[in-house]
């Protein structure tokens, strides 16, 4: 077997095939994922995280759904309990990272330039800018985009998708690929439920189930703090789980 592509041509017999007619061509069966290089980088990121027992969460949503606001509220709620670090994906600015640093938490901004999503290579660079030995929980804010981010594994342990009340409750039905990848769906800005009465949280849950996903659908508000307790409990449980896994691996 050719180690590069899995075809059955070896160095030893390749000349038999190549001595064909002029202009000969050969079809090589590949059957490799288009994102194989990204997936290898994601596995490498996972190894970095495992070495230090760091739990990583990939936060995805449309632009402005409240990812950074949720991170700010989460940092506040878990202060003195979990050591958090943040990776910020943003098209061009340091704004989100500055908001996080203002709360005393290390934040690496990945200016993705023209890219519309984070990939494992970008996150890898960010990992090397952080002191992972001093981190329990790494929160990765993906680029605000409901299409691309889902395709790229970053090496995270869990993915979370946000859908904010002003966006409408049909987002999981319109962006099935991203919401299907979520381990948890948060209905953000839930303080606006009383104001924007067209949004039905039960419909979000129905759409998520229609994607064959058992992901919990929970409400949160960075504004009022509603739902933060449950969300932080979920994060704590993940950190404990990853810690236990890291302990088992090094035993």
């Amino acid at each position: 077997m050719c180690e590069h592509c899995g075809c059955t041509v070896t160095g030893g017999n390749a000349h038999l095939l190549e001595a064909g007619t002029p202009g000969a061509s050969r079809t090589v069966e590949v059957l490799e994922g288009l994102l194989a290089a990204n997936d290898r980088a994601a596995a490498h990121n996972r190894a970095h995280l495992a070495r230090h027992g760091v739990a990583a969460v990939n936060l995805m949503s449309a632009p402005g759904s409240g990812k950074t606001a949720l991170l700010e509220a989460t940092i506040e709620a878990l202060a003195g309990e979990l050591r958090i670090a943040v990776v910020e994906g943003d098209l061009a600015t340091e704004k989100d990272a500055e908001r996080i640093r203002a709360r005393g938490v290390p934040a690496v901004q990945i200016a993705t330039g023209t890219a519309c999503h984070l990939d494992a290579h970008l996150v890898h660079r960010a990992l090397h800018e952080l002191d992972l030995a001093a981190v329990d929980l790494l929160l990765i804010e993906n680029v605000g985009n409901l299409v691309c981010p889902a395709a790229f594994d970053l090496g995270q342990h869990r993915s979370v998708a946000l859908v904010s009340v002003p966006e409408g409750d049909d987002k999981p039905a319109k962006y099935p690929v991203l919401f299907r990848a979520a381990d948890l769906v948060l209905v953000s800005k839930c303080d606006l439920l009383g104001v924007l009465d067209g949004f039905d949280p039960a419909a979000v849950e129905r759409h998520v189930r229609a994607l064959a996903s058992a992901a919990p659908v929970w409400r949160v508000s960075a504004r009022t703090g509603e739902g933060l307790g449950r969300w932080c409990g979920w994060l704590r449980a993940l950190v404990a789980e990853v810690h236990a896994g890291a302990a088992a691996a090094t035993r």
Binding site: G20, S25, V28, G33, A36, A210, A212
Partner: protein
């Protein structure tokens, strides 16, 4: 939106395979792209036409096989097609606890390499 990034990854892989086989060019690339892969075949084709310039696949044809979605029910065990990418219910019992068994793939199935060395290129044109 990310189809250009996908095509760059695709071309890097194609160049590696061509080099491993001593081929000087890639003639065709065949992909399998499921409706749940997140990639849009039409956008892939458009991005490929741009991204291939200057690579060994600059004259390559891109063939995209669009698979169908198939689910397997965790409750009744039935297997069959899903209605749409956002309705992955069991086709037999209607339950939502299903597993996607096909339709989320994003694969390079095969590539066709041009093996003729430079000296044979004239012949290749007329085969």
């Amino acid at each position: 939106m990310h189809e250009l990034a996908l095509c760059r990854a695709l071309l890097a892989q194609a160049e590696r395979i061509a080099a491993a086989h001593g081929a000087h060019a890639v003639r065709r690339v065949e992909l399998r792209v499921g409706p749940l892969s997140g990639a849009v075949p039409e956008l892939l084709r458009a991005a490929f036409a741009v991204a291939r310039a200057g690579t060994c696949a600059q004259e390559a044809e891109l063939v995209v096989h669009e698979g169908a979605i198939e689910v397997e029910c965790e409750a009744c065990g039935a297997r069959g097609p899903a209605a749409t990418p956002n309705r992955l219910h069991c086709p037999a019992c209607g339950g939502w606890r299903t597993r996607v068994v096909a339709g989320d793939e994003l694969l390079i199935e095969r590539v066709e390499l041009a093996l003729a060395p430079r000296a044979r290129e004239g012949g290749a044109e007329h085969v």
